[in-house]
Symmetry: C2
Subunit: 491 residues, 2 copies
């Protein structure tokens, strides 16, 4: 099985695709740029969704659901917003098919043309703020803290499984506040929710930062982000949280009477993470033998494989396993006993290695006699023989060790790959030789940022929050700068 995976060193991009397809996470579909999320990949998404959803609810948010379709005129109401999304819109123009008069199957019925075209939502600010107009009259209606789990469509020309697909699943929070301060606090709070999730569940260290104007969400005053580093040294934006100011309130005329009984426009935020996180997870931890999943979000944390000859051995093993399973389940461990006789143990080992199950327990007849089991860690590829006495406690601790180890390893890698550059020459050399984030001075203009992007394909990933101020000069223009920002080539 593992032989079929392309090595990272050989072709990183093919390695990634092999993992997604052969690990059973997703499949290509017949629809351009859209993927099928297979049960194992969807299980991963369900686990991520449940953790995030609980965090949203803890912070006072409620879920709701808004229409899939956005009238074309709505999208146009916020000028920067429509500029950002116009080139990626799937447009519904008709509402009926009919038999082809020439007998060639079904055709669009020309008499069923919509009066106004509908856009399949690329994001929902416009339809939501048009609704908020009816829901918000007074400061008593604020804050309004709503989240939506939904599918969205952005017609990307170059797609990659999970990382960039025409349709993807995500959550989008849309909140309304009485003051700018409150909205900014919400924006930062949700960024921290994302960072906490990435680091403590996905074992993915992230830089918390704010985007340069060129990289902002279309319609935002500020876009906060978490940026992660992949094993090939490219950066990946893992989540964003936007302070939208009063832009959408003005576009949709959403005013409220404040405590002084004066009318003012409402302040807004929006924030989202998507199935793209699965791509980040895969690229951050996996190896040439398959997926490596952090225990806290692995759909399956432990698999038990029996090794036996004949029914008598099998039934003894079964009895012991059923005891162990009960203990593990009681401790909240997601565990499976794979005693199917369709495949041999070696095939199963390779299969669960491919799928990134954190811990594998093999139990044979001789093990049973010796009161031990063979316990293998997916991440380190180590095996040890452990006593069956107290094994479930040991496994629970081991899962936690693996979680921490994956995070430490990814953090060390990330920290080794943040390198300062003080000249354009050094910058370009580092990009090619070492890759990763490059910390450099920038004169603060979009013009310079775009020039550097054109020359090197690197963009400003973020201006880190709590950045150290430091006098310097822009690597491109030599103009004065007060802080370094993080550049990288990115997914």
């Amino acid at each position: 099985m593992s032989k079929e995976i392309t090595a990272r060193s050989e072709d990183y991009s093919q390695w990634y695709n092999d993992l997604i397809l052969k690990g059973g996470l997703a499949d290509y579909s017949a629809v351009r740029g859209c993927m099928v999320i297979k049960p194992y990949g969807f299980g991963l998404w369900e686990g991520m969704r449940d953790v995030l959803d609980a965090k949203f609810k803890e912070t006072g948010h409620q879920n709701a659901y808004f229409p899939l379709f956005i009238p074309k005129s709505f999208l146009s109401k916020e000028a920067e917003h429509v500029d950002g999304f116009a080139t990626e819109c799937a447009v519904v123009t008709h509402h009926r098919l009919m038999k082809d008069p020439e007998g060639k199957g079904m055709v669009v019925d020309p008499s069923a043309k919509l009066e106004e075209e509908l856009i399949v939502r690329p994001t929902s600010e416009t339809i939501i703020w048009n609704t908020y107009k009816d829901w918000i009259q007074s400061y008593r209606d604020l804050p309004l803290l709503i989240n939506q789990w939904a599918n969205v469509v952005r017609w990307e020309m170059r797609t990659r499984l999970f990382l960039r697909t025409a349709e993807f699943l995500w959550q989008e929070g849309h909140t309304a506040h009485a003051t700018a301060e409150e909205a900014i606090a919400e924006t930062k709070q949700m960024l921290e929710v994302y960072a906490d999730f990435a680091e403590n569940y996905m074992a993915l260290p992230v830089v918390r930062g704010v985007k340069s104007p060129a990289e902002r969400f279309a319609g935002a005053l500020d876009t906060y982000c978490i940026e992660a580093l992949m094993q090939d040294g490219k950066a990946l934006q893992a989540g964003t949280s936007h302070f939208l100011g009063q832009n959408f309130a003005k576009a949709f005329d959403v005013k409220f009477s404040n405590k002084e009984n004066k009318l003012d426009y409402v302040w807004a935020t929006s924030w989202g993470v998507s199935t793209r996180l699965i791509g980040a997870l895969v690229m951050a931890h996996s190896d040439d033998d398959g997926l490596v999943l952090p225990p806290r979000i692995a759909p399956l944390q432990v698999v038990i494989v029996p090794i036996y000859k004949g029914d008598e051995q099998k039934s003894k093993i079964d009895a012991k396993v059923s005891e162990l399973m009960a203990q593990l389940k009681k401790a909240g461990v997601r565990v499976k006993y794979d005693d199917s006789d369709n495949n041999r143990p070696g095939w199963k080992f390779a299969e669960y290695e491919m799928k990134g199950v954190p811990v594998r327990i093999a139990l044979g007849a001789r093990d049973l006699e010796n009161n031990v089991a063979e316990v293998a860690r997916r991440d380190m590829k180590t095996k040890e023989s452990l006593s069956l006495d107290g094994l479930s406690d040991r496994i629970v601790a081991l899962l936690e060790e693996i979680q921490q180890q994956l995070y430490s390893k990814a953090l060390a890698f990330r920290d080794e790959h943040i390198t300062p550059a003080d000249t354009m020459e050094e910058f370009e050399r580092l990009l090619d030789e070492k890759t990763g984030f490059i910390s450099a001075h920038w004169d603060g203009t979009t013009e310079t940022e775009l020039k550097i992007k054109e020359m090197t394909k690197a963009t400003i990933r973020c201006i880190p929050l709590n950045n150290k101020l430091e006098a310097g000069t822009c690597i491109l223009t030599g103009k004065p700068s007060t802080q370094r920002v993080l550049f990288a080539r990115a997914y």
Copy 2:
């Protein structure tokens, strides 16, 4: 508050809309036929989804996700299927907007026309069976038991909040089997899962049955259904489970090699319930004062309202409530303490009555002195003063009593409204006078069924499973018949 609801006796349809809008379940949207599901309504859906999802997983199904878009040619591959959905298709024809050359905002970019139009899925059989072709080769790949939670779009001309909307949320199970027997068993199993959910969670008695050919799902060999009765005597189809035979396997060429190593087409089922269930729930139990929700799926089961003057009284009540809340939460009860001082107790009583919260506890300073609380049941509108000692146990039992009472009441109503008719005259009189299901002999032909529909607007809701055989004659044609079927006017 309650004054604003139209009485059922006055205008049933307006009563229903009032409940949905004023109960905070949903709102109209700017997009024709699409609704916004508000947080309270979405909370209800989340609860229903979680119960059903657990049942699907218990019966061996896994969730996955398939593309929103279906190539037009796919929809056409199964002849009856496309006939059933062609007139309700939202069609995507372009993938980009551009600035209007004449300066009038944004227009569809004519150069971005899709080679093949995409249909926003009205149901996913075709895109899924096109995928299953790659997933199924051998009997070892079967059964394939997959479910999807998704949004779907059917361009209905006459829409009603929850009952019939252009976009709705649902789940659709799509399973593949090696034999017809296995597929039929799956179809029936999932119908029973739905029936169990409707009766034991929604407190909604249902008739399990099979559809007449005219009412079958487009592309199915048999459609099983659960049919419920609303308070106005109209029937509502609450869930369907389809035996699809080999129709989709043949349309998408999905063959497998069986144990004898011979190629055969795969057998299929599909089954679904949707946000329509919320409409059924509302119409089955509610009254002229607002929603009445069965405890097992009420987002909020108990609300506690303090009645006090001044901070000293308040803090004594707070202390007692916090004790009670802890006990209720420990028992798994969804409870809220509404001590907001924006509104008076009377306003809160009306608000929670409107929202159908099953139990309201009011606690005043004098109650506290007497060691009692006032406990009000939403369903019966009765109040009693109960000792604070052991109150949480009493509340848990009361929630269960309410659940049973709602079911018994709905069952008695339903059973009173199944009436036999032996002549067309009797049939028409019953439809107008008594409403409900009418049990009548039918000659088994679609022609007769359609004629009766044309004359009376009543359709065959189902042929009940385990129907009693009984010789008779068709009410319309007088031809011989072997069993009665259930007719009704329906939503």
